[in-house]
């Protein structure tokens, strides 16, 4: 448990107070005991005096009675009555003084009975004396009772004396105990006070040291607070200026937002048109796909026809080769015919002419077949090229069809994207309108922030002044703590 100076002080003073109260209570108790003992002793002393007075009264009554009986002088009678009253009074007083002692009360009852009998006896003797009928023997009886009374008083007195002795003894014991308690209690209280003083001094010293350190730390912290507060004041001013600028910026953004909203609406309209164009483009691409398929089919048909034509061209080439061979043989035959015609001389002139014609025809046939073969070669090249081109066309048509399909997919994606973009632009337009309202609210908020920032700057400057004052107080407190030595 962490102890503090207040706790130490409280504990110290509590201990001292406990010891002091203990000593005081003990002293009070002893004093009360002594007072009671003194009171009891006083009562016992009073009882002893009452016993003395009672004995004296009884003896006075007896003496006066004896004097009256002996002298017959009446002047002794009042003394008897006074003695009787005194005796009764003392018995009553003794009853009161010994009311807490039942034995004494019993003894007083017996004594009262004896005294009353004695008084009755004396009264009787006095009356008989007065009547002259009294005898000396009665007097001797009265003397015996008187001895009993004296003895009874003596017992009561001895009892009271014993009580006095006991009470004196108890009072002495109480007095010594009270003296010891006061003496040792005083020493103990002084020791406690000294110990508590040491503890409190140590605690105060530690507390003072901590307070000094705390004061210095507080001063440093306050200096930092001052610095921070000044910086905060400057920052708050900058913040207020920034809020003003932000307000202006928000207004510009708001204006830009209006333009964005306008452009977003235009973009939405444009997107709708583009969407329609995308639909048309999608249809066109699908038509292109179909057209590509048709082109592919036609190109394949062209290729088949070209292949068929190539086959027929080969047949024609074979025919042309046959014709060429025939022409060659005809040419050879014509040459031999011409030779034979030349060998026949003039008779072979007509044959030579026919041979010449045959040769001419053969040559023409050869030339034609050469041309045909050349043309067939060209046709074959063209056909081969056509086949190649048709094949390429088929491939390109297939490629185009694939591209058309890809383009269809792309256009479809573009269309979908345009749809999404259109929705997005519409959302942008709607969001921009909401954003516009938010910007206006934000502008108002920034204006409020600027005003609040100005107020904050004023408050911060006041706070800086207060903190400066606090720093001065802290320094003064540190100086005061430094001056306070424990």
């Amino acid at each position: 448990m962490k102890t503090t100076v207040a706790n130490n002080l409280f504990a110290g003073f509590a201990i001292v107070l406990v010891f002091t109260c203990g000593a005081g209570l003990t002293s009070y108790s002893s004093l009360t005991g002594l007072t009671d003992a003194a009171g009891q002793r006083f009562k016992t002393q009073a009882a002893l005096q009452s016993c003395e007075k009672l004995l004296l009264g009884a003896m006075n009554a007896e003496m006066a009675a004896r004097a009256f009986l002996l002298t017959d002088e009446r002047r002794y009678l009042p003394s008897i009555q006074a003695a009787k009253d005194s005796t009764r009074e003392e018995i009553r007083r003794l009853r009161e003084l010994t009311s807490d002692n039942a034995v004494q009360q019993k003894r007083l009852d017996d004594l009262n009975a004896l005294t009353e009998d004695e008084f009755l006896l004396l009264q009787s003797l006095i009356a008989r004396r007065i009547d002259r009928t009294a005898q000396v023997k009665l007097i001797s009886k009265g003397s015996a009772q008187m001895d009993s009374i004296v003895a009874g008083i003596g017992v009561i007195r001895a009892e009271e004396l014993a009580l006095v002795a006991d009470r004196d003894k108890g009072a002495n014991s109480t007095t010594r105990r009270a003296r010891d308690l006061i003496l040792y209690g005083g020493f103990l209280a002084l020791g406690s006070i000294a110990l508590v003083s040491i503890v409190i001094r140590r605690g105060l010293r530690e507390a003072t040291g901590q307070a000094r350190v705390t004061a210095r730390t507080l001063t440093a912290a306050v200096e930092q607070i001052v610095t921070s507060t000044r910086q905060q004041a400057a920052s708050t001013g900058e913040q207020a200026a920034a809020a003003v600028q932000a307000n202006a910026t928000m207004q510009e953004i708001s204006r830009s937002g209006l333009q964005i909203a306008s452009r977003a609406k235009e973009a939405s309209s444009m997107a709708e048109r583009v969407s329609e164009a995308g639909k048309a483009g999608l249809g066109a691409v699908q038509n292109t796909d179909l057209a590509m398929a048709a082109i592919r089919e036609h190109a394949e048909a062209v290729a088949e026809n070209a292949v068929s034509l190539s086959s027929k061209t080969e047949t024609v080439g074979e025919i042309a080769a046959t014709v060429n061979e025939i022409a060659h043989q005809s040419h050879l035959l014509a040459l031999n015919a011409a030779i034979q015609a030349a060998a026949a001389g003039e008779h072979g002139h007509a044959f030579a002419v026919v041979a010449s014609e045959i040769k001419s025809l053969a040559d023409q046939s050869r030339e034609v077949t050469v041309q045909v073969r050349s043309i067939l070669g060209d046709i074959r090249k063209s056909v081969n090229k056509s086949v190649t081109l048709a094949e390429e066309a088929v491939k390109r048509a297939e490629f185009g069809k694939q591209h058309a399909e890809v383009a269809a997919g792309t256009v479809r994606e573009i269309h979908d994207g345009i749809q999404q973009s259109m929705h997005a632009v519409q959302q942008i337009a709607a969001s921009t309108e909401e954003q516009q309202a938010a910007f206006q609210q934000a502008a108002q908020a920034f204006a409020g922030m600027g005003h609040a920032g100005e107020q904050t700057a004023i408050g911060t400057r006041q706070l800086a002044s207060s903190v400066t004052h606090l720093m001065t107080l802290g320094q003064e407190m540190a100086q005061a703590i430094d001056r306070y030595q424990v």
Partner: protein
Amino acid sequence: MGNIDWEQVRPRLRATEAALEQPVEDTPERIASVYRERAKRLVRPAVPSDAGSAGAPMLVFRLDEGRYGIELADVSAILGATRYTQVPDSEAKLEGLINVNGTIRPILNLRFFLHLPVSGKDTSAYFLLLRQKQRELCLRVDEVEFEHRMSLPNLHIPRKDPVTRGISDFTSGTLTVLDTSALFSEFWNERSEP
């Protein structure tokens, strides 16, 4: 690839179809023309009265890049492409042997006598069967063009070669005229003393 003018293609196709539908036989006008041309040639004399001035008929043939002529009267026949047999370890002048209607005839190596380089490719398609003094031999040539009348004394540059008579102008080039007798003599080593 240029654009196709289908308007021009269609008439061509129609014309082609029409041409294919025409009959293969010659028209009567064509036949009549041939007959007229034949008649004109027939009315001309077969052998001119002055054979020397008109020139002797020559058979013109081609060998490699050169054009050569030989008197038509020395040619017994012209054979088409026929297999011939080369003779191992034979003389260079003998190119091989050929079967002509069951008779084996020698083939004179004309390139040997004309000092022509040996051709790497065999393009010869004709064999000329020459006959002189009951002897026959063959010449392997590339192409036979037909007869040509030529005046032998008009040869411009007589050659010193023993198998040639000289060189004459011929259409757009020259014609080397061969001496048939010299060919036979050189082949059978019958060179006459000067």
